[in-house]
Amino acid sequence: MELYKLTARELIEKIDKKESNAGEIISCLGKRIKEVDPKINAYVRLSEPEPSISAPGPQPSTPLRGVPVSIKDNICTQGYKTECSSKILEGFTPPYDATVITKLKNAGAAILPFKTNMDEFAFGSSTENSCFGPTRNPWSLEAVAGGSSGGSAAAVAADEAAWALGSDTGGSIRQPASFCGVVGLKPTYGRVSRYGLIAFASSLDQIGPITKDVADSASLLNVIAGYDHFDSTSIDKEVPDYTKVLGSGIKGIKIALPEEYFVEGLDPEVKSIVEEAVDKLKSLGAEDKTVSLPHTQYSIPVYYIVATAEASSNLARFDGVQYGHRCAKPQNLIQMYNKTRGESFGQEAKRRIMLGTFVLSHGYYDAYYLRALKVRTLIKNDFEKLFSEFDCVVTPTSPTAAFRIGEKIRDPLKMYLSDIYTISANLAGLPAISVPCGFTKNGLPVGLQILAKPFDEEMILKVAHAYEQATPWHKMKPKL
């Protein structure tokens, strides 16, 4: 079997058995990328001269043994361009590594110098909002890869990456993982350092793994999780070995099925696939009960207020003073600001900055922003109540399978609604995973989402792993 098809753990095994080495793996992946990426566009800046890999080389003693990781274009990598798929960050080469990158390097990972494609500043659910063009779904090139971590998800699905990092603000890891038939995990808010992740919405963003299977997800989380004194919002809490719980069985585990996630708007085909998955979990010993998360209907409005407000402030720094793009020959300061930002932010970025600026502006703060923060409390309380009785919540990851490229791009609200099942985990800070649970008649993957209480990543990994091992989905490969 070709090396690129293997999971990261399988690659590590190969290295340990001296059947391969990191250098060989990197060059094999490089070949694979050259071969299929023109179809997928999972990576950005591939045509640019390749900077040398800051690979540690074969490192037999380190946990990751030199196996490469693909990184989303919004995670800072020292010496490698990090542009958030945005024209405004044109040419930006960070002078520092994100904490997750430092951790990966310390664990012996190689960092690929080209980064994975994304919606500009992670604004989107399809990776169509990229200045590098859309990423295509490896299962159907006419379909979107999901977003905003579409590049990472597609790269893993198309065997262009052993594994990858994405970021998730409202579903940006889980939804593309679901669309591409791979595993995507969003950790508890505060579990993984955000230092070096170019912020979209600071109170919602988390970095997480996108992998070929659940075991890889646990292994990668082992490396990136943990307190970081550079991130005031990271939590000083011991990191367990997440691979330990895998295979421990889910007998007697209490699963909540929120009725609000199985109503109108959910594609009937997706619904029946997810219901079958729930049956599978039951057959493995889990106990299910239909419950209510009464404030679910507010999650999208709350999200689009909180996330855009924070984004409008976070993105104010892109002004052409210190880095990135500056408009040609500005006559004065105000023109430099307005023109630079006007000509280099994409439509979705402008929309969100405008919305976020508006909800914070004088006279509207209480009606929008403050109200949203209060409803956020209600949503959080809903989950707290649920987790006093249940071990996890199971839902579809997305109401539909991957949609066609261009289908929703002109209708932002419709696009926003595709995040309906993933947003609550961010608002409530919960860990959540998407694991492949079947295919539609058109051959598009469907994802099952599992959520647990804060810092119970072990629960979602355990349940996802039990399900995965009892089903064939994660073994399926797209034909490219």
């Binding site: 960070p94 002078p95 991130d231 005031s232 919002t233 402030s313 600026t357 004088h362």
Partner: protein, 476 residues
């Protein structure tokens, strides 16, 4: 017929080793953009982490200004675009500042007064802009330095009161050692709001915000100018508009910024990158304990315990180190009546210190050495004149008073046997004056004393000389 109403907003650089939210040094005057990192440059992906000492200093200052320290405080983002602001928002505090509701007692010619302090909060500083012909240059070394903002209520009624407020505030902050308070280096900045109203009115007039004052003196001048300008404007039937005015020190006047005044909309919201802070009673108590005796209490003690005048005490307590040095000297001095020491401290010693732009304690003469000098003078070993000469020599060489006296032979001569010869000579050489004296002209004696002093090189004890002269002249 008009009453002036003034409120002051003071910004202080806290004297921490590192910036408010990152580990960059706060040292002044380094190469441009050499004390910067991804955090204080606001580079994408960077995150702030609060400097513990900055919060401690803020609490300390707030307590010393009689503020109530809040048990729950948080940071907010103040959003506006400006090239010296790396993130285009400033991390500041909006609705839940570290502390509020304090006061500062001041004394001016109008008497004693309590000025209330609205709030004291912590924020980060911006960078520095240097304007050239066609371009403005940005240096971010200052960006992210911890700033304390102290906002008074509009309760001062004269430029003098404002001046006293600033002097008092600076004195307290220096006692706490939490800021350099150096306006020239920009570690203390002051903006003023000023309006006038008819005496007796309770409604505030339209205010002007004054900026660009670089010393307390210029704050006073700018306020005086502005109060006069506003009064004249009203008198001539004009109307005061709310605006920002810059103090032009060269021309001694305030000038309207003339920019299109747009209503600012800072879109404050809670800083999501910084979880909130709780300040418990234990912490407040611990910080309270670290606060030294403050100038006001010191001043009271100096007048009550040592019998200093209000004026002398106020001067001596202004600086913590001066006060400590003065107290050392006072305690060192054996006499019960402390006036001689205080006179020397406030007089020759302070003027020497001022001339050298130093504190009393930094003149290189310890309290023991100074008191020794004063004692020698009090005991009559030195004349007042010689004592000043000895002081100058001590400052120059660092030698003790005794050593200088010995070396320069400056001791006062008081014994009659040593002075006998001089007296004889003077009587012999000034026959006319002797005659005048004998004819009852009192002035003649003073002349003869002066001659004797001159002959002794200023070392003769004038009282002894006078007695000896009288004795001799009355004999013959």
């Amino acid at each position: 017929m008009y009453e002036t109403v003034i409120g002051l907003e003071v910004h202080l650089h806290l004297k921490t080793k590192t910036k408010a939210f990152c580990g960059c040094s706060t040292e002044f005057g380094r190469e441009p953009n050499s004390q910067v990192c991804p955090v204080c440059l606001g580079f994408p992906g960077s995150l702030p982490v609060l400097n513990r000492t900055a919060l401690d200093y803020a609490i300390k200052a707030a307590l010393a200004l009689n503020c109530s320290v809040q048990n729950y405080t948080k940071f907010d983002r103040k959003n506006y675009f400006y090239p010296d602001l790396p993130k285009n928002y400033q991390i500041s505090q909006y609705d839940l500042p570290v502390s509020r509701d304090g006061f500062l007692d001041i004394r001016s010619e109008a008497g004693a007064k309590r000025v209330r302090i609205k709030r004291v909060h912590l924020e980060e500083d911006a960078g520095k802009l240097i304007h050239q012909e066609a371009v403005s240059l940005v240096d971010f070394n200052r960006a992210g330095m911890p700033l304390l903002e102290i906002v008074s209520e509009p309760e001062m009624n004269s430029p003098d009161e404002a001046y006293e407020y600033l002097t008092g505030l600076k004195s307290i902050i220096e006692y706490l050692d939490v800021s350099d308070c150096d306006m020239e280096k920009g570690s203390l900045r002051c903006d003023a709001n000023i309006s006038i109203r008819k005496k007796g009115s309770t409604i505030l007039g339209v205010k002007a915000e004054l900026k660009n004052m670089n010393s307390f003196k210029s704050v006073r001048e700018a306020l005086a100018f502005e109060a006069k300008r506003q009064a004249e404007l009203l008198e001539s039937g004009g109307e005061i508009i709310q605006e920002t005015r810059l103090w032009n020190a060269e021309e001694s006047k305030t000038v309207s910024m003339r920019t299109k005044e747009e209503a600012q909309d800072y879109r404050y919201f809670p800083e999501p990158d910084l979880p909130p802070f709780t300040i418990n009673k234990d912490k407040i108590e611990a910080i309270k304990k670290s606060i030294p005796e403050l100038p006001e209490s010191k001043r009271r003690r100096f007048t009550e315990d040592y019998g200093l005048s209000e004026y002398d005490a106020k001067i001596l307590v202004l600086s913590r180190r001066n006060a400590a040095f003065a107290e050392e000297c006072i305690n060192e001095y054996p006499g019960k009546e402390k006036k001689p020491v205080v006179n020397w401290l406030i007089g020759p010693f302070l003027s020497e210190a001022n001339a050298r732009n130093r504190e009393l304690a930094d003149l290189g003469i310890g309290s023991k050495a100074l008191v020794e000098l004063i004692n020698l003078m009090e005991k009559g070993v030195l004349s007042n004149l010689s004592a000043k000469a000895v002081l100058a020599e001590m400052l120059e060489t660092g030698k003790t008073a005794q050593a200088v006296i010995k070396e320069k032979n400056l001791a006062q001569i008081s014994d009659s046997s040593s002075l006998g010869g001089v007296i004889e000579e003077v009587i012999k050489e000034n026959a006319k004056s002797v005659t005048d004296y004998k004819q009852g002209k009192g002035n003649a004696l003073m002349f003869l004393v002066g001659q004797a002093m001159r002959k002794s090189g200023g070392r003769a004890n004038p009282k002894v000389v006078q007695d000896l002269l009288k004795e001799k002249l009355n004999e013959g």
